[in-house]
Amino acid sequence: MARSLLTGTRIRERRTAQGLRQADVARTAGISPAYLNLIEHNRRRVSDALLARLAEAIGLDLFALSDGAEGALFDGLREAASAQTVRGAQPEIDRIEEFVGRFPGWAGVLAERQARIAALERTVEGFSERMAQDPFLSTALHEVLSAVTSLRSTAAILVENDAIDAEWRARFHRTIHEESLRLSDTAEALVGYLDTLDEAESGLSSPQEEVEAWLATHDFHLAALEGPRAPAPETLTAGVAELASSAARTLAAEHIVRAHADALALPLKPFLRALAEDGPDPARLAGRFGAPLARVFRRLASLPPEAGLTEVGLVICDGSGSFSFRRPMPGFALPRFGAGCPLWPLYEALGRQMQPIRAVIELAARVPQRFLTYAICQPLQPTGFDAPQVLEASMLILPAPPERGAVERAVGVSCRICPRIACPARREPSIVT
């Protein structure tokens, strides 16, 4: 397991949190206190073997000393480096770990700024699209342009022609009156239209992100949907701060309907009993309940926290590979925009409809992390002979078993920040050298 310079900071944090002296930990790990001091100040890299000894000396799991949530911070910084537009600026990507280690606050600010810029760019794109395609705006702007053109030409004629015929003069006066009325009516309509736009519609999140943020506040479990009678979706979405846009509320309502159907098909108590007996094995659970695998995936990813299955992730995409649902898994950063790694079992499933895929993946990161994934792709609804095929693929993400299998799949998060330079599925150069 590769180690980074930042591991030292983490070792120091964990050791002091445990109330252990540097000298004691160093002795237990078989190194000198001075060497441990250098490690803790990120001045020496740590070998796998030594890290294991240090983890044992501190009394922690090896994983606790690895990247954890900071992976997202590194991804954010790499994105910032790739997006930088200052002429001549060459961010020292090879020293990114040192930067985070020495200036964690600044690193966090930079990553957060990058996320904000990406969100703002998306908003601008949305506005541009709206301006270009909104039929009301397009018509209103055409009206304004026509009225202004008419007013300008007519006013100029009246000003520049002293000896204008009385009949023409009267006609042009009437034109000015008509066009000024048209202009004021259009302006009023435009202001009214812009006023009615829900301010939240111009928010920085996509509707899907709003739904995910709302679900995250419930730990992805909606208790109200358990049992035969669920409240109307609107009663669950009304007044929810996270669901600011009408599009998000529509998506949330669709999610609620589906989640309730899942809860009816896989009732909570029997499902939890089966889970306790079989473990989170989707195939067994699907067999027990006679339910489709995708439904079992969704149920596993929406259980109450007391079910004990907190380390679970779920990604759902349509036939184009676009995400329609994301429940992030700790340590598995899901891309916010764009597609994921083409080597994910999720995408393989798209090409192998109805064939379940089970794969242990190793996610390329500063500290590679392993996950157990299950994927399935199935038609979304019966479509008949001539109807278009609507597909949906789902990938359940669980912690990997400790023992390594013969075949483990090397994947990434997205090409741009993936260090697997020679990957055959690469679609764009990586900024990680």
Partner: protein, 125 residues
Amino acid sequence: MRGRHVVLIEDELNIAEAIRFILTQDGAAVTHLASGTDSTAVLMREKPDVLVLDVMLPDRSGLEILAEIRAIPELAMLPVLMLTARGKNRDREAAERAGANAFLAKPFANADLLAQVRALAEGGA
């Protein structure tokens, strides 16, 4: 522009009125069409010296009309001034590709309109 004949295709009647005034004051005869319907038939019949054509018409696009008349041998060389919306570069580029001789963005100065039409009528676009 005495003796010159201009066909104007513009659906905004007040704009058309102003253009007609500007051109007739300068001596030109103006035929106004408020839509693109049958425009080619009118052009074939009238054989104008210049066509002033609005891009955005209710029934069919000015670009469509331009492409159509460029395909008719008798009208292929007709000087055409396109009226486009200010800032709509795509319209202008499309009009260029379709074979417009000159462009004027709305809102325009009357003197510019007159200068453009004169230049086209004299063959100096």
